[in-house]
Amino acid sequence: MSLWLKNHKTYLCGLLVIGLLGLAFLPVLAQEATEPPAEAPAAEVAPGEAPAPKIDTGDTAWVLTCSALVLAMTAPGLVLFYGGMVRRKNALGTMMHSFIILCLISVQWVLWGYSLAFGPDKGGLIGGLEWVGLNGVGLDPNPDYAGTIPHQAFMIFQAMFAVITPALIVGAFAERIKFSAFLLFTLLWATFVYDPLAHWVWAVGGWLRNLGALDFAGGTVVHISSGVSALVCAIVLGKRIGHGSEPMPPHNLPLTLIGASMLWFGWFGFNAGSAVASGALATSAFVVTNTATAAAALAWMFAEWAYRGKPTVLGAASGAVAGLVAITPASGFVGPISSIMIGIGAGVICYFAVVMKNSFGYDDALDVFAVHGIGGTWGAIATGLFANPAINSAGKGLFFGNPGQVMTQIMAVAATWILAIVGTFILLKIVDAIIGLRLTREDEQTGLDLSQHSESGYSF
């Protein structure tokens, strides 16, 4: 029996994932059937009739467009960005990580994730199960979150955030994790780290929201949480075989550069969509996102040029991503000139974080911690510095006369670091005990593509 168990661990994990997904599944099916026809969107197809009272067509168009854009950040954005950076033998497997997270968390979010994150508050710490299976999450606006778009539009926009966050982590354990372990870890992490954290920061009643922490589009929830968790993953999993002795150059940098471009493109949805409405605030967020990103790419490139003698393409792409990360929490609070500062800071700080990595000796394969952990932390603090009440009355930073904001930001950062470190560590240990995290030596040498998926990325 125990031998059988050992041999079938991989498969068992599949069942486990299915089981977990299924848990919340059956009870809610009935609910949908009896869901009250609270409003009649069908009216919309009949020409000439007025739309439901409060829904604004422009705002809804914008938020749906943004939801599609944020999806494009994960796939094909991250799929390409990370996929191009690994060695050829791991190309498909690494791409699969991002892609399957999109699938897994899309379902998890509908079944229970949204409810845990945004459902009726329980003590500031977590949402209740009232909205499991989207029960009660209908097509009327929910003024708590967005007063002019259907509640489900807000839900699906948030779904894309829940998707990309664990997908960012995969860069840390690239090229050496078992696929089954990865699946289970992702599902647990989304449920026990991401969902609570999203609640703390964004949900009505969340304790960090109540504290007054500013995080417009997810600097803490998305980037610090994934970046810090990535560091824990890199340390717990250990180095790749040959790390430090063999060269491990990216196998296809054009893919990485396209991925960075798609991330930039999609990030407009991420940041400007976080206004959950079309108009001035969305415009402001759009402008500073573009500006900070550009400045950060230039800053990384020039820093590298000065420090190492050559401006690299991977550097420019990485700098752009660092800029996107850093401007994320600030994007609804700062003006264009401030965004240049934030971008320059991000490019320089993250470049040196990447350089210093080697002296610490952990193998964060694709530098998730340096870019998202450090970049996100810089962005969260910078929000506390540069937030300009003329842009958004909800935020006032140190440079505009509110020194307290920086402290609040630091508290939010610290809380996020702690949750990410503790949560990730525990979950990794659990998954390691059940399935085992790392590939066998032989599988790792063969590569993810053949060992985990029986496929080759390229057949030239």
Binding site: S245, E246, Q445, T446, L450, S454, E455, S456
Partner: protein, 112 residues
């Protein structure tokens, strides 16, 4: 002069190169080849279809050495390339009439 051709497992290349360098063999030419032999290939599956890929990626090292160095070179290649599992590869040795360095026109062992 002898020409030594070694078909080895790709991930052993660095070790073999170091081992040859240690005995003073400082030039070589390598190419990517695929081998067929006792070592079984792998399965790949694409939708409904399963293929067995029988040709396995290998590295071929070609190194030309003076006659007296040949045995030693073979020995260090063998030691460095061996994992003890099927598919470690072969070494083939043949005679060479002449070798020339294009840059200088030097011939024979001084061309190496």
């Amino acid at each position: 002069m002898k020409k030594i051709e070694a078909i080895i497992k790709p991930f052993k290349l660095d070790e073999v190169k170091e081992a040859l360098a240690d005995i003073g063999v400082l030039g070589m030419t390598i190419s990517e080849v695929r081998g067929f032999g006792r070592q079984k290939g792998h399965k790949e599956q694409y939708r409904g279809t399963e293929y067995t890929i029988e040709f396995i990626p290998k590295i071929k090292i070609e190194v030309v050495v003076p006659n007296e160095k040949a045995d030693n070179a073979v020995k260090v290649i063998m030691n460095a390339a061996r994992t003890g599992t099927i598919g470690d590869g072969k070494i083939f040795i043949s005679n060479l009439d002449q070798s020339i360095r294009i840059r200088t026109g030097e011939t024979g062992e001084s061309a190496l």
